[in-house]
């Protein structure tokens, strides 16, 4: 059966002569706007492409190659991943990274939130305390790590000296495989909590005061106000920061690199530390890229959750 034969559509009526140049001008303007927008985007796109997307792609390729910068790399399939799996440190690094992330969430999530709640309650010297909380963020990460290395010195270090003064038991801190990882978490939390606290504080200030007043009239105490008003009202910010913190803490590198070198007894070897070691100590860029690729996949899952959470809120 053939297609039904239809008469050709009548030509659209010609616009009135005065409207034609107007429409053309509008089209030209739209085109110019689009071109300008792309021109503005160009610099950012090029920078992203060169310094983010291209290295990610390149790293993915290197993960499947035996890398030789002098005479050319060769494809080796999954050999780099097999090498990683045969390295006992591979699992140690993932375990340490997992533990670091867990401890960092317990400490790095709760401490800034409670600090923000406290700061929000202050009636006086608000700006002073906010500045005080934010100050560590302004220190370069390596300076923070070196400073805390001295604080943690089991002999004349600041922390043990303080504990001795108070007649409390001291600790070996970084020098013991049972306390080193937690010691690093404390440093990371101290150094980074300023930004998180400020975001929580901003979120807290969006909670309508009437809700607290109503809760108080109902006889709610501080804990009940926190649990039934503050947390539900700020849960979106809490969720987003939780995901961002997971993504950030899983990439921990500066603290173990500067403070412990992965020790004692590999107790602070993290995934990024091992990537560094493969690439720049062993000169095995293939295995380093393979490990980065694995980390990328894990982080991508959390990033996807983050995007879903933020998109959900926009909708």
């Amino acid at each position: 059966m053939g297609a039904p034969v239809t008469a050709p559509a009548p030509p659209a009526p010609a616009p009135p002569p005065a409207a034609r140049p107007r429409r053309r001008a509008a089209r030209r303007r739209a085109l110019a706007d689009t071109a300008t927008a792309y021109a503005f985007l160009a610099a950012a796109l090029v920078v992203f492409a060169l310094f983010s997307w291209w290295p990610i792609l390149r790293s993915a390729v290197l993960g499947f190659q035996e890398v030789d910068f002098a005479s050319g790399s060769t494809w080796v399939g999954l050999a780099n991943f097999e090498r990683l799996l045969a390295d006992p440190l591979f699992f140690t690094a993932w375990r340490n990274t997992g533990l670091f992330t867990l401890y960092a969430l317990v400490l790095g999530f709760a401490v800034p939130f409670l600090t923000a709640v406290l700061l929000n309650e202050f009636r006086h010297a608000k700006a002073y305390f906010r500045t005080l909380v934010y100050l560590p963020v302004m220190l370069p990460p390596v300076v923070v790590a070196l400073m805390w290395k001295w604080f943690y010195d089991p002999g004349p270090g600041l922390i043990n000296e303080a504990l001795r003064t108070l007649h409390l038991p001291t600790s070996a801190w970084l020098d013991s495989s049972s306390t080193a990882l937690v010691s690093l978490v404390i440093v990371a939390t101290w150094a980074n909590m300023g930004t998180t606290t400020l975001i929580y504080l901003a979120a807290l200030q969006t909670v309508p005061g009437e809700l607290y007043e109503a809760a108080e009239l109902d006889g709610a105490n501080l804990w009940q106000r926190l649990r039934h008003v503050t947390v539900p009202q700020t849960r979106f910010v809490l969720l987003v920061l939780l995901l961002l913190q997971i993504v950030a803490t899983m990439q921990v590198f500066t603290e173990p690199y500067v403070m412990t070198g992965g020790g004692p007894q590999d107790s602070t070897v993290t995934v990024m530390f091992l990537v560094y070691r493969y690439a720049f100590v062993y000169n095995d860029f293939g295995a380093a890229s393979a490990m980065s690729l694995l980390l990328l996949i894990v982080l991508a899952v959390f990033s996807a959750l983050y995007l879903r959470a933020t998109r959900g809120s926009e909708e």
């Binding site: 160009a42 020790g263 000169n283």
Partner: protein, 455 residues
């Protein structure tokens, strides 16, 4: 609100920036093989930074004099030495100099990976070729004896000690410990001075723990690895290996002579030495000038003794190799430069005078008078050193006397990977009172065998 013209201008500027960035990526890194006037262009590194004004001036003067003597070569000097972290990237990006600095540790792997040019033919008739110690030349040779680089300075480990603290502790600074038992006793005596004084320090971070374990094992006659079935196998799980670890563990936990803070690396020990808080650690001679220059120490306070024990000493050092992409003319020019600048008794004699005039140390077994020579040239350099010494050479007499007789052993294959494993062992014995040394050695042996088998 910005005008349309303003927006367009800003947009154009943004696009221009993007294009500039893209075009920068395409810039050739290669400076070329020849200059416009037909000279061989030779990019070399090793030029000291501006912070070392005298050394830099001396280097530039060398370049000028070399070019005068070799008008067919144009030297283009670059700052920097070997940075293992950027080496591969420089090589891949075509930014590696034609003549580049290397540590002894890296020479073997660079040769295996084809990352250095074969210079065998170019060194055949090189002046003073036969005056350089054979063992050092071998560091830059492959299994077939082909030459891929030249040594320019070396170090061997010794026992660096604080003479002032020795005296305070009632020890004779002219009779330093010669065995590990004596080291332990001396460390105990020095730490007995109190006020946080540490008798003996050892490293356990940044692969330096593995490096020191190796040096201490060599000094007891042991080895890290041995060749077996055409490959390598761990060889440190022996009585010698156990003795190294047991001594350190006992000094740390029984005697308490190694201080509370561990996970140390070289800079920590140098700082402690400079501050007069440390009695001994094992080190090469260059540590003395570092302690004096950077950490406020005085040359007269430090002595250098041979490694304790009757075994060998760990040998290290530095040299130069030629880029595998260099032309035959550049290889030939590169060897001429390395020989003229570094393997040249006349240059050394002039440098010694310049060092003395500028109040820089002369008398240590390190540049400008490295101990790389043999036979008559060694005697000549030692004579120049002695005549111009401005540091107390007597403090290092024992070390220098033992040097020619003491066996020097280079680092094991895949040294950094092996050191990473052994770092963990050192950390365990220095931080864990209940460390099980046998189990630690068993585990480390398994891991190092894994490193060598490539699994």
């Amino acid at each position: 609100m910005p005008s349309a013209t303003g927006r367009a201008l800003a947009g154009t500027a943004s696009a221009a920036c993007a294009l500039t960035l893209l075009s920068a990526c395409g810039t050739s890194a290669d400076g070329g093989d020849t200059t416009s006037d037909g000279k061989v262009r030779l990019d070399v590194n090793g030029r000291p930074p501006t912070t070392q004004a005298f050394e830099r001036e001396l280097f530039d003067e060398h370049v000028q004099r070399f070019e005068e003597a070799n008008p067919d070569i144009d030297i283009v000097p670059h700052e920097g030495f070997m940075d293992p972290q950027t080496f591969s990237a420089k090589l891949a990006g075509g930014k590696l100099e034609d003549v580049f600095y290397v540590y002894f540790t890296d020479a073997r792997s660079l040769i295996e990976r084809g990352q250095a040019a074969d210079i065998t033919d170019a060194v055949q008739d090189m002046p003073h070729r036969e005056d350089v110690q054979d063992g050092l030349m071998e560091v830059f040779q492959d299994a077939d004896g082909r030459q891929f680089g030249l040594p320019t300075a070396n170090y061997s480990m010794g026992l660096l000690y604080n003479r002032e603290l020795f005296e305070e502790a009632g020890l004779d600074p002219d009779d330093p410990p010669a065995t590990w038992e004596e080291v332990r006793e001396a460390a105990d005596a020095v730490s007995g001075l109190g006020e946080g004084t540490v008798g003996y320090a050892d490293f356990s971070k940044g692969n330096q723990g593995g490096w020191h374990f190796t040096a201490e094992l060599y000094s007891r006659g042991g080895r890290i690895a041995e060749e077996a079935d055409g490959g390598w196998k761990a060889a440190f799980n022996t009585d010698d290996g156990r003795d190294v670890l047991q001594t350190l563990h006992d000094m740390r936990f029984e005697d308490g002579s190694m201080g509370g803070r561990q996970l140390l690396e070289a800079e920590d020990a140098q700082r402690m030495m400079g501050a007069g808080e440390l009695g001994m650690y094992i080190a090469a001679a260059d540590n003395i000038s570092t302690i004096a220059k950077q950490f406020g120490g005085r040359y007269e306070d430090y002595g250098l003794a041979p490694m304790p024990g009757e075994g060998a000493t760990l040998l290290g050092g530095e040299g130069y190799m030629v880029n595998p992409g260099a032309t035959p003319e550049q290889v030939e020019a590169g060897v001429r430069w390395i020989q003229w600048k570094y393997l040249n008794p006349e240059t050394i004699e002039r440098d010694v005078v310049a060092h003395v005039e500028n109040d820089l140390p002369v008398g240590l077994p390190m540049p400008p008078t490295p101990d790389i020579w043999k036979g008559g040239v060694r005697e000549r350099i030692e004579g120049v050193k002695e005549a111009n010494a401005n540091v107390p050479m007597d403090n290092y007499a024992g070390y220098m006397e033992a040097a020619p007789e003491m066996e020097g052993v280079i680092e094991p294959p895949q040294a950094q990977e092996v050191y990473a494993v052994l770092d963990s062992v050192m950390q365990a014995v220095l931080t864990d009172e209940d460390a099980d040394i046998d189990r630690l050695l068993d585990d480390a042996e398994e891991k190092v065998d894994g490193v060598y088998s490539g699994s």
